[in-house]
């Protein structure tokens, strides 16, 4: 049933100007090809350098479905490897993070590797003498991923060697990461706790699309945010101060006009963000002492510039979303065509008041936890879509809102905030990075 394998034209035909075919969400072969092409061709978030503060520190992650391992070497360099022993494939590290000391030791036959991946020792080494082992790939140690970039402590890797460079791939979209890091008076973020993990029985792209779907909050979240606003109005009594919790829930109920004017910015290669002019994060209470710290660190003008750029959700194609204003990153990790693990990380702004971290943690458990009522609203919609798309009645998903004839792809633009153009932008990038290294394309180009 290879309908799509090595058939770039069939894959591209799934993405039209204003709609996409349901196979992108439900077809297992398409999911296999995403793992083989899309993820290896893209730059994927691995983790944060603060998780690797000392030599010997390591973290594990996945690129698509492939397990990888990042380590801090004795010279301070960060390396990323395929997380498998060159001997018989055993995973070298199985915990999310830890410190391995001076070397990694495979638990099966005790081959050991320096933290730069090179082979250190094999027990009973003489058994390999005269066998030509020197030429074996195993002799090179842990297979290294060559394309690794640490941008302001965010570690990204790209598996395929002939892909788009980091700078070309992300371009100006890095401004959201910049803004998030700049929000620390010391220009530094730190991971100090594990993420909230939430399993979704839906295709990973439904989650990514939802990040810039501004026409759903006032509808799908009426049950959670709407109820929070209603209960607060009833219970507030004489209280004049809106509790932090209500400040976080309330803006989800903003009307269409709010999202329209707040705008969406799109960038090439499928990146984009909501909340250009302002966002649902704009009206949180000031936190005592924070502005003073920022002004002291950056000066009046620059501090206000940083804090005035209150973006909503930034999608870094293919599968992370960054919320600079609350220092949250969500990683949408594909498990199967209808299964996605969401890991939501909160960063501490180094040097900033505890209250900011408290608020970010609260936001994360309100919105991104398996116990989040906002999360329940969203997951219900994804699950229903995953089911509904099995219907043959209409095989296309419509992404037409505010489409303009002749719309350009791979451009930077600021548009009406209720547009579905960022979703179209993502699917344009999807078709590109799915097919860029498919044989049929490579042959056609030759």
């Amino acid at each position: 049933m290879d309908r799509y394998r090595n058939n770039a034209f069939a894959v591209e035909a799934l993405v039209r100007d204003t709609e996409v075919h349901r196979d992108v969400y439900v077809d297992p072969e398409i999911f296999e090809l995403e793992m083989e092409h899309l993820f290896p061709n893209s730059w994927i978030y691995i983790g944060h350098a603060s998780q690797l503060s000392k030599p010997g520190d390591f973290i594990t992650a996945n690129i698509g479905r492939q397990p990888v391992l990042a380590s801090r070497h004795t010279d301070g360099a960060i390396h990323v490897f395929y997380n498998r022993c060159p001997h018989k494939g055993v995973k070298i590290a199985s915990e999310p993070c830890g410190n391995t000391g001076k070397f990694f030791r495979c638990p099966y036959h005790a081959w050991s590797f320096k933290t730069d991946g090179s082979l250190l020792a094999i027990p009973l080494r003489k058994g390999y003498e005269g066998t030509g082992f020197g030429d074996a790939q195993a002799n090179e140690g842990l297979s290294k991923i060559r394309n690794v970039v640490v941008y302001r402590d965010f570690i990204f890797a790209q598996l395929n060697d002939n892909g788009v460079s980091f700078a070309d791939y992300f371009g100006e979209s890095l401004s959201t990461i910049d803004n998030m890091v700049d929000r620390s008076p010391e220009g530094k973020l730190a991971v100090v706790a594990a993420p909230i993990r939430y399993m979704h029985t839906c295709n990973w792209k439904m989650l990514v699309e939802n990040q810039t779907d501004t026409c759903h909050p006032m509808v799908a979240h009426e049950s959670s945010a709407g109820t929070a606003v209603k209960v607060w109005k009833r219970e507030q009594g004489a209280s004049t101060e809106t509790p932090m919790a209500v400040q976080l829930y309330g803006p989800f109920m903003s009307p269409y006009e709010f999202y329209e004017q707040s705008g969406i910015r799109i960038w090439p290669n499928g990146h984009g963000h909501t909340g250009v002019a302002n966002s649902i994060h704009s009206n949180y209470s000031d936190i005592e002492g924070y502005l003073g710290q920022m002004v002291a660190a950056y000066g009046e003008t620059r501090a206000h510039e940083i804090l005035g750029d209150v973006r909503h959700n930034t999608v870094y194609f293919p599968n992370i979303m960054v919320k600079g204003a609350v220092a949250i990153l969500r990683n949408f990790i594909p498990i199967a065509v209808d299964k996605t693990l969401v890991e939501s990380w909160v960063y501490r702004l180094v040097g900033a008041p505890d209250k900011l971290y408290e608020r970010a943690l609260m936001y994360n458990r309100f919105i991104n936890a398996p116990t989040s009522i906002v999360g329940h609203d969203d997951l219900e919609m994804y699950e229903r879509a995953q089911e509904g798309l099995k219907s043959n009645g209409n095989q296309w998903v419509n992404l037409q809102r505010l489409y303009e004839a002749g719309e350009q792809a791979d451009v930077t633009a600021v548009i009406n905030g209720t547009s579905e153009r960022q979703m179209r932008n993502q699917f344009h990038a999807w078709a590109k990075f799915m097919t860029i290294d498919m044989d049929s394309h490579v042959e056609a180009a030759e």
Binding site: Y198, V231, L361, R384
Partner: protein, 158 residues
């Protein structure tokens, strides 16, 4: 006079109110300053500056309960149901003089919705205070044995 039996009965009654979906009566068990906490770390100490699954005051619990009945609460169509299987609570403190009443209860919790059934295991810790003749919940802490695993929706209360 609050005895160990008062505490145990209180905990059984609480589970029964949840299992029979008497949400308002369940909320009435909480002290006005009461909290419901689901930590996200082993033996977690801090609910505010460490991540949790839930750390909610009465206002937020009311929002949850009211949402469950909402006309447009689509994740409750069909409705969830739950079942608590409790081990006999261990009394950690029963000191009427000091107003200290604490118990820890091992449980298996089941939540179902439609054809799906999920099962969780853990410990519930109750911090109770005496109000009038009875007890109220100051803190209900729910530690899952696998707090670090990724779950699907948990919509009711453990």
């Amino acid at each position: 006079m609050i005895t160990e039996k008062t505490i145990t009965d209180f905990i059984y009654r609480e589970a029964d109110l949840l299992d029979t979906m008497q949400w308002q009566a369940w909320l009435d068990l909480f002290h006005p300053e009461g909290r419901y906490w689901m930590p996200l770390e082993w033996q977690q100490q801090d609910p505010v500056l460490q991540p949790s699954l839930m750390y909610e005051d009465l206002l937020l619990l009311k929002v949850r309960v009211e949402r469950l009945a909402g006309e447009r609460t689509f994740s409750q169509k069909p409705k969830s149901r739950c079942h608590h299987l409790l081990q006999a609570p261990q009394i950690v403190a029963c000191d009427p003089e000091a107003g200290l009443f604490k118990a820890r209860t091992s449980y298996i919790y089941t939540e179902t919705r439609g054809d799906l059934l999920e099962r969780f295991s853990g410990w519930a810790s109750h911090d109770l205070v005496q109000i009038g003749d009875g007890l109220k919940i100051k803190l209900k802490r729910v530690d899952l044995v696998n707090f670090d695993a990724p779950f699907g929706n948990i919509q009711l209360f453990m």
